[in-house]
Amino acid sequence: MSASQSAVRSRAEAVQVSRTFDWMILFTLFTAVLGGYHIHYMLTGGDWDFWTDWKDRRLWVTVAPIVSITFPAAVQACLWWRYRLPIGATLSVVALMVGEWINRYMNFWGWTYFPVNICFPSNLLPGAIVLDVILMLGNSMTLTAVLGGLAYGLLFYPGNWPVIAPLHVPVEYNGMMMTLADLQGYHYVRTGTPEYIRMVEKGTLRTFGKDVAPVSAFFSGFVSIIIYFLWHFFGRWFAKTDFIADDAS
């Protein structure tokens, strides 16, 4: 076979090879995103995502969407503008959460025996699905950043509330009131995570009484818009073909 001859001999074979490529690329993309996104999120979200006694109404709500909209925006940029595939955000977040669940179950529980009910990951999937659909329907980076970024921030807290609410039931313990999540953090000893490291309920947002979570979510949504733009451009830059072709597009 010479270099000018095709590697496939029929359309059926071409389709088969194409699908094989699909699965290979999808698997590679999934695992690469899982690794990269996981490291990124653990470094930037870290303890806010690890422990229930960090998941507060202010900083967790604010920080988690801002630092997690990064890879979804970048992968969307690649998959949408190159392939018109509106799955970048969902694929990224599924990869992240699969990685997180492996980590929490194998490491946090399997190695160090923290109960899973103290160290489960945050749920980022509702925001990711909406982000993908907005990109598909609007076919616009600006619209996705503004509407999608805002929705990503706003959906985070209500999307997690059904999971964390039972752990916010109060308990009286030796004369002090705390939530069950606080009690988990106290009971299950973390030698390297003393209580003062927790960044919960800190800040100057005091004029909204107990209804601080929606305000935090709005703020998170606004910042997520900016971060979306930034990482969308990162994604576009990485999706260039300059590295492999002379006639780069």
């Binding site: 194409s18 999808l26 509106p86 109960p115 509702p126 598909m136 916010h168 308990v171 313990y173 919960v200």
Partner: protein
């Protein structure tokens, strides 16, 4: 020749793989907490733990034990470590092998951080409930914001039984008694499973069709719009609206199911009750102090004055949790960890009773392998080469008094 080189290269690669694989199978349990690696000056000049007691050496799962004692927040706290204005009484154990059922400083529960005063002594107690069987090194520990973990003495404790039998019952303010070990776990799995299912459905909707090669060709040839059909958009709308409806409905249902919830609690506890040690009537001046590297011995020249009304003798020098005793004066009866106890490690040139009003200059030698084993000798490589510790004197009636010492240390290498 090339064939031989190739074979050697291949075999080397195989050997490397085998070595790496073998290394993966050897993963011994980590049983220490880096207590020996912490800078010696930090252990000697920050928190001095004493009168420690581990109530049990063996404890079955679900049973409790306590660590109790006192700690002195050293007045000569090093400048290179932040002051203990925000601190947390912790326990050095390898993960939650025990749960911390309670911890108290001066009788006050301290689930939160506390502010400590330099030069004060505090009494503490930690109640631990056994959870995971094994032999565990259990340390007292104080985390200091800006200073890091300051680990105290550790003792081996054995937990027997089965972890599957461990329960952690808690009664909430809404009157429900739950097992915190497994509480709400089904709920966590359920909601994550629901959202994973929805996300996988969305992904499956797209990846079941040809993906990268044909779609890239279409986009490159200007036919990108043909790749998203009206049906795709309808399905997308369904997913977006469905997502928002599920989020709203689940939140509403959760609020109905859990009408009473409170925010996470946080704060700093100030004004902790201190422990009043008996007033010291002995004063000690350190004339000089040297550490003899080859002999693993620290020698101090002390000028001791007894201002009390009863003769006293020096019985113990305690630094970084290592206790050097003069058995003629004091013997340990608390089953203190062997590796931290030099039962005959303290020698005083003249340890006859120091009469009231008398001043005497003595050579005090604290020698034991613990200097090396606990890497306290590394003090000479620290940025602030001073030593510090607690001296305990006993009078004729068995009363004890505590005096702190803090002075420069000069190493001798010959």
């Amino acid at each position: 020749m090339k064939i031989i080189k190739d074979k050697v290269a291949k075999l080397s690669f195989v050997a490397l793989l085998i070595t790496m694989t073998a290394a993966m199978f050897y993963a011994p349990t980590a049983s220490a907490h880096g207590e020996k690696s912490q800078a010696a000056f930090m252990r000697m000049r920050t928190i001095h733990w004493f009168d420690l007691n581990w109530s049990k050496e063996e404890v079955p799962v679900n049973e409790t034990m306590t660590i109790s004692g006192k700690f002195l927040v050293f007045a000569g706290w090093p400048e290179t470590v932040d002051k203990p204005e925000v601190s947390f009484l912790n326990i050095g154990i390898p993960g939650p092998v025990f749960i911390r059922a309670g911890s108290w400083i001066g009788g006050q529960l301290v689930p939160r951080s506390v502010s400590l005063e330099l030069g004060e002594v505090y009494e503490f107690k930690v109640l631990l409930k056994a959870r995971r069987p094994g032999d565990w090194h259990v340390h007292s520990m104080m985390n200091v914001q800006g200073g890091g973990p300051i680990i105290g003495p550790g003792k081996w404790v054995t937990i027997t039984g089965s972890m599957s039998e461990f329960v952690n019952p808690v009664t909430t303010l809404t009157g429900q008694t739950i097992n915190l070990e497994t509480y709400a776990l089904d709920n966590v799995y359920f909601w994550h499973a629901v959202w994973f299912a929805i996300a996988f459905a969305w992904l499956l909707f797209w990846i079941k069709r040809p993906l990268f090669v044909p779609r890239h060709i279409a986009v490159s040839t200007g036919k990108a719009d043909s790749l998203i059909s009206a049906g795709d958009k309808k399905v997308g709308m369904l997913f977006a609206v469905g997502t928002m409806v599920i989020v709203a409905a689940s939140m509403g249902a959760t609020n109905e199911k859990y009408p009473v919830t409170t925010p996470l609690q946080a704060g700093l506890l100030r004004g902790m009750k201190t422990y009043q040690m008996p007033e010291a009537t002995v004063s000690v001046k350190v004339d000089d102090a040297t550490y003899r590297v080859p002999g693993r011995a620290m020698q101090m020249t002390l000028t001791i004055t007894n201002n009390g009304d009863s003769a006293v003798r020096l019985g113990e020098f305690n630094t970084a949790g290592v206790r050097f005793l003069d058995p003629a004066v004091h013997e340990d009866e608390t089953a203190y960890p062997d590796d931290l106890l030099a039962e005959e490690g303290l020698t005083v040139s003249d340890n006859s009773p120091l009469a009231p009003g008398e001043t005497r200059t003595v050579e005090v030698t604290a020698s034991d392998a613990a200097w090396e084993v606990y890497r306290l000798a590394d003090l000479i490589y620290d940025p602030d080469s001073r030593f510090a510790g607690l001296l305990f004197f006993w009078d004729e009636n068995g009363n004890r008094q505590l005096v702190t010492v803090d002075a420069p240390l000069i190493p001798t290498f010959i």
